[in-house]
């Protein structure tokens, strides 16, 4: 039979063997009509392909393609597409049509039907599959495809319909039912695949050419959907069974995931997954997790709850991986997130954030960040709560509500630790989220300014303690890093002038008493300040360093000068020349200085003014220090003491006992200062004086005596730490000076503004002032300054418009 070969192989061989072209022509003629039909459809495409593949190898064929009856590789939809090869065949029909036996169609169909039924009943097929396939092919070739398809459909329908009965019985439990269903479905699929293989030719020709006709496979699905799953009872039982299985799994039971997967695949294949299963499944999910969320929020604490949520999300993902359709991913996960997280967002945050941050629970915080990042506004809210916590905790550190002085001392260290901890959490838990970083900055700025002035003062003192000599706890790099951290805190401070005042005061002491740990560290801090606040802020501080350097030069010259002058007594003197504006203001204290020293001062004064005429020298005794040689019973010692201490001690060269009053008279040191001085000499660690009566505090009636029995393991003893200590008076005067300076600054700003504007309303003036002033100031204080300026005739109020001011030239 010439009909025995499939057309695709014909075409392939055509390309290979030109010499057998006649033979092939003959063989091909059986499927002639088919090829022609398709040729018509594809002509355009092939032409373009030809043009594109205009290679020399195929030059012979280009002539042929111009003829209308061309054949090429695109001719049949059954041909595998291989680019490039096009050939022209001329096919001639038989002169006489071959005839078929009259009952051929009927008999062939019977044979096929028998095979189909055998498949349906799982019996062996009598005929060979090859034979059956050819039968189908032949029938199709004889234009009975439609009838064949319809007959096949009828047989299949009959079979599928008969299958419904096993599902209508009501005694089986639901899992059993599902298993039945699965078996039925698997059988159905297997059978349909078998049938399709036999009827492949029908599927590939007739079905493909008629878009209205479903493929054999689809027809099988349609039948299954129509006759089995569309049955209400069956569908409900299936879906309920599936949902129950899932629920059991969610409750922790192990279930047959393969069964679930198969059946859900079935639903997907039948295209009822979404409509009949997914909707109900999601509803169930909602219900379950709504209830679970409510319950667990009550029962568990936040870390437990969060890990549970994490576990649940993981499980649901597993479900998606193992049996659920991928389209369910988004709605399912978002529902779980909504019910377990979004619904309880505020309680999670309220109950959890503060506690977790307080305990520095890195892992749980990380989890919380990850989970809340999944829900809408989750991170926003979390960041908000985070900021509230920072503000609350920070405010507590800064404001020190109990007024505990010891706590104030720790404030800066606490703040630094707090900052470190917060940064650590943001870096490790919050993925360095910008939002959290900014919230931290904003919160720190907020709470550090909740208390006026004190934080700035304490930061300055903290820096002082780190820059002082004898601070051996840090290497240079560590110190540098610490200073950087402090600068971060400093940046948040609004009233930087307070910092400057205290910093300057302490710096002056470090420089003058020679207690600065390292010039490099000092310079580094200075450059940091300059970078942060500009040169205006540090110009005076720089001036102080310059003064110190200049003083060194001057002292060199002075020493040289001294060689030509007779020195009074056996004294060496070092003088530091301080430019007045650069240094803190010291109230000059006139004390009685020994004659030799006064002489020395005179010599220096003459020397200095000789070099720089027109300058005025004023001696500041508060920060002077001396080294004294003392002879005790134990031996000679060198005492490093302040000038005031010196004055007291020198008295004991002329006598052994002096009363407080006597010392006061002789030295003219101010009483509270003297009290401190004597205390340091008689009640401190190194007691070079003995006090009668003994005691910690100095009374005005006390008597002091040179302590000849004084013993100390060192030869050179420092007793002048007292100079480095800040007295309460110093503290208040420094603060007050800042406030005074602020007043001047406000006044200057008001006058400056009024001078440019001439006339300005009160509100505009105030707002402009706030723009210009760099320290915190209350509106009522500004008002007072304005009033003061009106009173001093720098400006006046408009006679009629009370809200308006005029500049008075």
């Amino acid at each position: 039979m010439p009909l025995s070969r499939a057309p695709d192989s014909v075409l392939q061989e055509q390309r290979k063997k030109d010499e057998h072209i006649h033979h092939k022509k003959r063989r091909h003629s059986g499927t002639n009509h088919l090829s022609h039909q398709n040729l018509g459809k594809k002509e355009e495409t092939s032409a373009s392909v030809n043009n594109m593949n205009d290679s020399p190898k195929r030059a012979n064929f280009s002539a042929l393609t111009s003829q209308s009856n061309g054949l090429n590789r695109h001719a049949s939809p059954l041909v595998n597409s291989k680019p490039g090869t096009t050939r022209k065949l001329i096919i001639k029909n038989f002169k006489e049509k071959p005839k078929l036996p009259d009952n051929y169609q009927h008999e062939t169909w019977l044979k096929l039907k028998e095979a189909v039924e055998a498949i349906h009943t799982s019996h062996s097929i009598k005929a060979s599959l090859e034979e059956l396939y050819q039968a189908v092919e032949n029938l199709c070739s004889h234009k009975v495809s439609t009838a064949l398809y319809d007959e096949l459909k009828l047989v299949c329908e009959c079979h599928v319909r008969s299958n419904i009965h096993q599902f209508l019985g009501d005694c089986v439990d639901s899992e059993q039912f599902l298993k039945h269903m699965n078996v039925c479905w698997q059988d159905h699929c297997r059978q349909m695949i078998m049938i399709r293989s036999i009827f492949l030719f029908l599927d590939r020709t007739y079905v493909l050419q008629n878009s209205a006709v479903a493929s054999i496979w689809d027809m099988g699905l349609e039948l299954f959907r129509l006759h089995i799953i569309s049955n209400n009872t069956v569908q409900t039982r299936t879906i309920d069974g599936l949902l129950m299985l899932i629920e059991r799994e969610r409750n922790g039971e192990a279930i047959d995931r393969q069964l679930l997967k198969n059946l859900l695949r079935m639903l997907s294949d039948l295209q009822i997954y979404q409509s009949s299963f997914e909707k109900k499944f999601l509803e169930k999910t909602d219900c379950l997790y709504a209830a679970e969320g409510q319950r667990l929020m009550q029962e568990r604490d936040v870390p437990e709850y969060l890990s549970h949520v994490d576990k649940r999300l993981h499980e649901e993902n597993e479900r998606l991986l193992h049996y659920l359709d991928q389209t369910t991913r988004k709605p399912l996960i978002s529902r779980v997130e909504y019910q377990l997280l979004a619904q309880h967002l505020s309680s999670i945050l309220q109950k959890g954030v503060e506690q977790l941050l307080e305990m520095n629970k890195i892992s749980i915080l990380t989890l919380m960040y990850q989970l809340l990042g999944r829900v809408k506004d989750g991170l926003k809210e979390m960041c908000f709560t985070f900021a509230i916590y920072l503000k609350k905790k920070g405010k507590l550190i800064v404001t020190n509500p109990e007024g505990d002085i010891e706590k104030d001392k720790d404030m800066v260290q606490q703040l630094l630790d707090f900052k470190d901890q917060t940064e650590n959490i943001i870096n490790t838990c919050f993925a360095k989220n910008e939002k959290f970083v900014n919230a931290t900055k904003e919160s720190f700025e907020y709470f550090i300014n909740q208390r006026q002035n004190k934080p700035a003062e304490l930061i300055a003192k903290y820096v002082d303690s780190k820059l002082r000599a004898g601070n051996k706890e840090a290497t240079e790099e560590e110190l540098e890093r610490l200073l950087d951290k402090i600068m971060v805190l400093f940046r948040f401070i609004h009233g930087k002038d307070v910092f400057e005042a205290f910093y300057k005061k302490d710096l002056a002491k470090r420089l003058l008493v020679g207690k600065s740990a390292s010039v490099d560290a000092e310079k580094s801090m200075l450059s940091k300040l300059k970078q942060e606040c500009g040169g205006g802020f540090t110009s005076k501080l720089e001036g102080m360093f310059k003064d110190m350097e200049l003083s060194k030069d001057i002292m060199l010259a002075f020493k040289q000068h001294m060689t030509s002058v007779q020195a009074p007594g056996n004294i060496e003197m070092t003088v530091n020349i301080l430019t007045m504006g650069h240094w803190p203001t010291y109230i000059p204290m006139d004390v009685h200085i020994p004659v030799e020293m006064v002489k020395f001062q005179e010599i220096f004064k003459k020397f200095y003014l000789g070099k720089h005429s027109g300058r005025k020298l004023q001696w500041q005794s508060t920060l002077g220090h001396c080294v004294l040689k003392a002879s005790f019973a134990e031996g000679k010692k060198e005492l490093q003491v302040s000038l005031f201490q010196t004055l007291c001690l020198l008295m004991f060269n002329d006598g052994s006992d002096f009363s407080f009053e006597e010392i006061k008279q002789a030295t003219a040191i101010e009483e509270s200062e003297l009290r401190r001085t004597l205390q340091s000499l008689a009640c401190g660690k190194a007691r070079v004086l003995a006090k009668m009566p003994k005691g910690k505090d100095v009374d005005t009636r006390d008597i002091f005596r040179f302590n000849d029995d004084f013993k100390h393991k060192l030869c050179r003893i420092k007793i002048n730490q007292i100079q480095m200590k800040e007295t309460p008076e110093e503290n208040t005067s420094t603060t007050e000076r800042v406030f005074h300076d602020r007043q001047y600054q406000v006044d200057a700003a008001i006058v400056r503004i009024m001078k440019t504007r001439k006339t300005l309303s009160h509100t505009l003036l105030i707002s402009e002032l706030y723009n210009q002033l760099k320290f915190p100031v209350k509106p009522s204080d500004l008002k007072k300054r304005i009033e003061s300026l009106i009173d001093r005739d720098y400006m006046e109020r408009d006679k009629d418009v009370a809200n308006q001011y005029h500049y008075v030239a």
Binding site: D791, R797, A802
Partner: protein, 233 residues
């Protein structure tokens, strides 16, 4: 045309007063000669050619008023007196001329007119502002009025028409000894304060340009008020 329009404005001038009034003024202006005023001044002046406190007491007695009467202050304002308790010759003479009076009787007859004049809001404002300076110069070089003097002065200035807030204001000032003086600006602003701010102080806005002393006053008052409310509860 234009000239006629200019002239036509004359017709809009207020009509001349009634005949007998007119006669009075005429006679007054005739009789209010410098000589008579000088004679009146000489009656009260002291050796330094001005009327000192003693003279003023006498002058007031003759006028039938007390020296701390409101009208005396108005008179001083009209005389443009620079110092309290003193009239210089020029002040007295030009002042008498200004009110067109040359004798005690005449001055007395002007009292209603003067009182009516300070009833006017604008005039009162001028008078009010002047009164601060008038008090100041008791000690030369003084710039700020002491609270005590200010309170006395306010009492006199407002004696004709006392603002309801005044007693509370005084109570506030008396209870706060730290308030040493009243600056001129605060004095000036107190008048609009009495005019503009409601008695319950609810429409007071401290972000406006009120002097800080008034801010403090309002804060004090509202604190008091709140305490009262709490005590009642």
């Amino acid at each position: 045309m234009s000239t006629s329009r200019i002239f036509s404005q004359y017709s809009k001038l207020p009509p001349i007063r009634k005949p007998h009034n007119n006669n009075d003024t005429k006679r007054l202006s005739l009789e209010c000669s410098e000589g008579q005023v000088t004679a009146l001044f000489d009656l009260y002046k002291n050796d330094e050619d001005c009327i000192d406190e003693e003279g003023i007491v006498k002058f007031c007695n003759d006028l039938g008023v007390k020296p701390d009467d409101f009208i005396v202050l108005v008179l001083a304002w009209k005389f443009n007196a620079e110092l309290m308790g003193r009239f210089t010759r020029t002040e007295f003479v030009s002042g008498c001329k200004a009110i067109q009076a040359h004798s005690i009787k005449w001055i007395q007859s002007k009292f209603p007119l003067l009182l009516a004049e300070v009833q006017n809001r604008q005039t009162f404002k001028e008078f009010y502002r002047w009164s601060y300076k008038f008090c100041l110069t008791v000690e030369p070089g003084q710039r700020t009025l002491s609270t005590e003097v200010a309170i006395q002065m306010w009492t006199i200035v407002f004696s004709q028409r006392e603002p309801p807030i005044l007693p509370r204001w005084f109570r506030f000032l008396e209870r706060h000894e730290s308030i040493r003086g009243i600056p001129k600006d605060t004095w000036d602003m107190f008048l609009p304060f009495t005019e503009q701010v409601r008695l319950d102080l609810t429409n007071y806005d401290e972000s406006e340009a009120w002097p800080s002393l008034l801010d403090d006053f309002v804060e004090y008052e509202s604190d008091l008020h709140n305490q009262n409310v709490q005590m009642q509860e």
